[in-house]
Amino acid sequence: MLEEAKVIAADKVVVRFSGDSGDGMQLVGNIFTNVSAGIGNQVSTFPDYPAEIRAPQGSLGGVSGFQVSVGTNVHTPGDSCDVLVAMNPAALKQNVKYVKPGGVIIVDIDSFKESDLKKAQFQTLDPIKELNINCQVLEVPVTALTKAALADSGLDNKSVLKCRNIFCLGLVCWLFDRPLESAIAFLRRKFAKKPAIFEANSLVINAGYNYGNNIHASVSTYRIESEPAKPGVYTDINGNTATAWGLIMASEKSGRPLFLGSYPITPATDILHELAKRKDLGVKAVQMEDEIAGVCSAIGASYAGNLAVTSTSGPGLALKSEGIGLAVMAELPLVVIDVQRGGPSTGLPTKTEQTDLMQALYGRNGESPVCVVAPASPTDCFTMAFEASRIAIEHMTPVILLSDAFIGNGSSAWRIPDADEYPEIKPHYVPAEKQSEQAWRPYDRDEETKVRYWAIPGTEGLAHRIGGLEKDYTTGAISTDPVNHEKMVYTRREKIARIADDIPQLELIGPADADTILVGWGGTYGHLRTAAHELCNEGHKVAFAQFRYINPLPANTAQVLSGFKNVIVAELNTGMFADYLQSKLPELHIERINKVQGQPFLVSEVKEAVKNIMDRHNC
């Protein structure tokens, strides 16, 4: 069951710039504030100067800071920041305490040499470890990149170094989608009498912005807070890490070793990073030569008897299609994780969307059904990665997990579960009485569930051959028989359909006697549930349902939804789930709320849209 979740701070971000008093932190803070105000944000700032105007360079006493909160409902500069820019070790040391869990720290790694660390009184050469920093640290060679950007400017070294702050401003503008034009206009006014300095700063702000673009830097400006109702031990977790850990839990619960075959792609790469670290738990995570090799190595590992996974984003899923089809045909367990981003093609790599649903459901040649599930929140990534693995192993099928950039990067407090909170996963092994080559054929299946058995290579008596060619229902030999093929097509389809008996029912949240139900799937859960809840509080009766299992749909879907006059499907695409749901339940009256801007919903806009639909229908 999903914990209640609230999206908070969705509408504001806090940035803290810090450096030496000569580093120009007040200036970049002011520019960022003005740029944000210029695009309609409310702002609140907090300049934090050192007492000494000229404290020794790089010393703790000389750190200057500027904190700004921008967005809506901004009343204070914030108690803590989402992003900290630290130009040197002293700034990092003085300001790390202000960073929120899950925040991002940007440091100029060029100013973290041994002598710099000494000035800031660090005891070791690893300030990150010494300060016990747990959040994302972007180690950016700001000085070197600024120098490179100004190599042909003719400026002297001192003037060049004075532009480092503007590089950081460019990077922060990238992170928060701030238009450079207005920042540059501000610089033009500021340096009206020094055109060379203006030109230099203009080059450098672009260099910083482009750097963010090039490294696909991203920061989640949203936190989804669940109520820590249950006592227990908590940690802060983002969706990609939760996904990785859910897979490890499934490996522990199934007794099958975990294998990841992957290829770097934004915004899914952190899953590869995390599982690569988890060699300490016996995980084998390999970076293959391309996306296709990622899925194919996983298919090989699956045939070999592992819990096999590949992780990617939309473009990679496209490349993996043929491989997934092979796993459908060979009826092998396979978990495919798609952390969705804006598409089509390269699209918006760092932005969130729900536009891969149709690709996941239908993007393969032939009649090729797979199970599709979608986590609702960062912490739900753990549960649904576990579920994807459970279904794959127990039902001998590929399962596609549709995460997205928003929940993949977004973080939340998470109660660390005890191992016994998750069920044992029972691999569908060849039963003992069938364990000989005479008694067992590779496409023998449990007639109840239509699931074939998994024979682990290395087992004596179970040597067998499978493959992508159609097989005879009974003997498992290659078959081109027309009637047999049709029977196999329906068998594979039925196998997926019957997973509905093995997943939780759809849960109705809110007033059951409402006429209107808001329906969502995947990472929009926090916003949609909050919107439904607030609408109810404001006197509009709106129920809510979240689909975490998409193919097959929960068995009670028709029963739950048919009671509502209006079924409003809200999603970050042009209506893919609405179309899918309509195809499964033609009798439903479905209304749609859609947004395809690479950005999450705002609670306020969902509420408005729901009210408009309700007004139209006089609910």
């Binding site: 016990n132 747990n134 249950k230 006592p231 227990g232 031990v233 908590y234 940690t235 850990w245 490890i248 839990m249 522990e252 070793p257 294998f259 075959g261 060699k279 300490d280 738990l281 016996g282 084998k284 390999v286 293959m288 030569e289 391309d290 296709i292 090799a293 194919c296 190595s297 996983a298 298919i299 090989g300 590992a301 699956s302 045939y303 070999a304 008897g305 592992n306 096999a308 043929e322 491989g323 089809g325 092979l326 060979a330 660390i416 005890d418 191992a419 290579p457 290395g458 004596e460 008596g461 179970l462 040597a463 067998h464 051959r465 499978i466 493959g467 992508g468 060619l469 030999a477 290659i478």
Partner: protein, 339 residues
């Protein structure tokens, strides 16, 4: 590789399925050679997996009594890599043709060789696409006329050995389908080698490219146009072993022993185990025209094996950190308690 004291017969590696290749296809002989090589090596059938892509030769797993997976076009090397990593006790064979392995699967091929994953790649080279009925392949010679190149190709082919050396390969051997004993011995050597082994087997397609290797396989001339390299033995060839390979500056040349001042002492001795691939590459590039085509094991050098390195790293990290399970790993990080 796991050696088994039990003795196996070639028939232990066969199954009952009828073999459906064309009569006279070179694949029949290669299949027989593989069964014999597996019996000679002695790894149990249930400890053996044969993985293929798509193409005529890729049907081979269906004719094996081992574990087998007939997969998709070009991807066998990637699938075999995942298989071996996941289940390293298995001996893994990959069967690919020249189209499957070097065209659509070229990327996976070079990366498998580069990593040195412990799989045995059989590359059956008939210089044609047979299953799709006769198009030129990436190993077809320039000017080759086929259904998709009616006026002759306008591109140069890959030479498989050159790709293997370019990808820093450590085992390369060559055989000809009609020479069953050489094929058997080469495949057995490939199986015994740790790391990626590539065996190029020149194979005749009777339907779409009949006689493509006839210059080499010609019974009258074969002894003069090929040289069977054996580690530690003199590089001699010819019906009477009257020819030998000698150093010629940085290159090698063929001479008649006893003529022009060349004696048997001048003839090179094959060293397949020397780490430098300089001479290996020259030997592998000989094509039967100016110099004889080399068959046998040309290069067989020990190097770090990818799957073993992965396993060792897992063991080392586990020993150093020693988490029992996921929960203990998480609890070792930053946490707080809600009561």
């Amino acid at each position: 590789m796991e050696q088994n004291t039990q003795q196996y017969a070639p028939s232990d590696f066969k199954n009952q399925s009828p073999v459906r290749w064309c009569p006279g296809c070179g694949d029949h002989a290669i299949l027989n050679s593989l069964h014999k090589a597996m019996a000679a090596v002695g790894v149990a059938p249930h400890k053996t997996a044969v993985i293929s892509g798509i193409g005529c030769s890729s049907r081979l797993p269906y004719y094996m009594g081992t574990y087998g997976f007939h997969t998709i076009h070009g991807r066998a090397a990637a699938i075999a890599t995942g298989f071996k990593l996941a289940n390293p006790q298995m001996t893994v064979w990959q069967i690919s043709g020249d189209g499957d392995g070097l065209a659509i699967g070229g990327n996976h091929f070079i990366h498998a060789v580069r990593r040195n994953i412990d799989i045995n790649i059989m590359l059956l080279n008939n210089k044609i696409y047979g299953l799709t009925k006769g198009q030129y392949s990436p190993t077809s010679d320039r000017g080759f006329v086929s259904k998709s190149s009616p006026y002759g190709t306008t591109e140069d082919p890959f030479i498989p050995a050159e790709l293997v050396f370019g990808a820093r390969g450590n085992f390369f051997a060559r055989a000809i389908d009609v020479e069953l004993e050489v094929t058997r011995s080469v495949l057995a050597a490939a199986a015994r080698h740790k790391g990626t082994s590539v065996c190029e087997i020149l194979q005749n397609c009777v339907i779409y490219n009949n006689g493509i290797h006839s210059y080499i396989t010609d019974k009258e001339q074969r002894a003069n146009r090929t040289i069977h390299l054996v580690h530690g033995e003199k590089m001699l060839f010819g019906t009477e072993k009257q020819f030998g390979l000698v150093r010629d500056g940085f290159l090698v040349k063929a001479v008649t022993v006893g003529q022009d001042g060349y004696t048997i002492d001048d003839v090179l001795v094959h060293d397949a185990h020397t780490p430098s691939n300089f001479l290996h590459q020259q030997l592998a590039m000989m094509d039967g025209h100016d110099l004889p085509l080399a068959i046998g094991v040309i290069r067989d050098v020990d190097a770090p094996v990818y799957n073993e390195e992965v396993d060792n790293q897992v063991a080392t990290v586990r020993a150093a950190k020693g988490f029992d399970n996921l929960r203990s790993m998480i609890l070792a990080g930053e946490t707080w308690e809600v009561k």
